[in-house]
Symmetry: C2
Subunit: 254 residues, 2 copies
């Protein structure tokens, strides 16, 4: 029985999504241990996206196959019981057909990057925003963002250790909005390269500060060279917000 | 030289605003120690409102009198330096005239109470929302809220240890709105009784759950008896958001 599981987690106590040797405090390991405590078996969680250390999720989607019959209600309740002291919880559990794959069936992944743009350091949101105390020019950031939309070779904005076969991606959304003292970057694409969102946001903030012109972002993209890109925004401001599956539109919002 | 100081703090590590014997981890004590570290003197901070243990502030307003000349820029910078490891920061410092009193000049105080209304426990917002997993009837809560608006004797919603001389208050705003899975209660009044906001919200949630009718809130208010009131909402969902001063409208928003 395959279950789709939507998770919320705070990135701070974890070393990222992926289970690794000598790195027991990953989100994957933590939830897989809760699964073992629930059903007695060692099962593998497959996630829509592998978030880095410190990155948060409001709607990470995974799937897991249980060998014994159970219900969505039981899965959610039991896992949240075993996760009661952890910074990760199951928002939704749902039985799905075997052809659903959290990673490969995804057609859109969305992230939000949150900047706290004020002089005083964060208090309520410490560890969960990037604090930028410089004035940011929104219009300039929006102009630069337009150059990144669409189908491009994003080599300039991928991590030098990114393992994807190529850097061709289609960026569907890159909205820059404000909410009080927050500047929010909403992005959506079928898939992203390693560190792509943080590298794009870090570069846009350089534009917002007036260090870069919008045109320089266009030139950097066209250079297809990581050394032409701007700085990387820190992990703490990034939220993996949702995953869209063509056959499961009702689960777009976690 | 009198300075107005606007503070943001996370209520979790503090035992409330007010300095008390044997209770050093109050917000007041923490900020007064930063002031002493800055100017060498022991000065008293006067606040617009004394928040309870666990209650957060996005815009608590205080005043303090420095005996030596300084500037708003220096006050903010120096205090935030000395508060760098604390869950309280200075958002704004501003020199004001001697007739400004953070407590007595206030004409409106606003609070927001945040309920996370979903089945899964909070993760990102742990300690900063009240988690209510029951379905809440918004229309019923709004109908009940109308009975509380205006000039009333709020004895039913004051703490039994409230030290105010009488319970007559005018409630100007009590809005119930939603934002995703959050139910937000925005309240405004010239002043509040001890635990008034939390007692009102706790009672409205009983209405939302269907345990109380809206009419029962009206009857409880008219009973002028704490024992007729509903349960108290926990501190962790409450935010002291802003203070309005007639002569200082530009500082309404922190």
């Amino acid at each position: 029985m395959r279950f789709k599981i939507i998770l919320e987690y705070d990135g701070r106590p974890f070393r990222g999504w992926q289970k690794q040797e000598n790195r027991i405090a990953s989100v994957q390991q933590t939830v897989e241990e809760a699964i073992t405590a629930f059903c007695g078996e060692q099962l593998t969680l497959v996630a829509a996206g592998r978030t880095d250390a410190g990155v948060h999720a409001l709607g990470q989607v995974c799937h897991v196959d249980f060998s014994k019959p159970t219900t969505a209600y039981t899965v959610r309740r039991a896992l949240n019981y075993h996760l009661r002291d952890k910074a990760v919880k199951v928002l939704v559990a749902e039985e799905v057909s075997e052809d659903f794959n959290a990673r490969f069936s995804a057609i859109t992944r969305t992230y939000q990057y949150r900047v706290l743009n004020r002089i005083a350091p964060p208090v309520i949101d410490v560890g969960r925003v990037w604090h930028v105390h410089y004035n940011l020019n929104l219009d300039a950031m929006r102009e630069a963002a337009k150059y990144l939309l669409g189908y491009h070779d994003f080599t300039t904005f991928r991590d030098s250790e990114c393992q994807a076969k190529h850097a061709l991606r289609t960026l569907d959304v890159l909205d820059v909005t404000t909410e009080g003292n927050y500047v929010l970057f909403d992005v959506a694409a079928k898939s992203f390269l390693h560190h792509q969102v943080r590298n794009m946001v870090g570069t846009l903030v350089l534009v917002g500060r007036g260090k870069w012109t919008p045109q320089r972002v266009k030139d950097a993209l066209e250079a297809k060279d990581r050394r032409a890109g701007g700085t990387r925004a820190p992990a703490e401001g990034l939220y993996f917000t949702s995953v869209l599956y063509e056959k499961y539109p009702k689960n777009f919002q976690a």
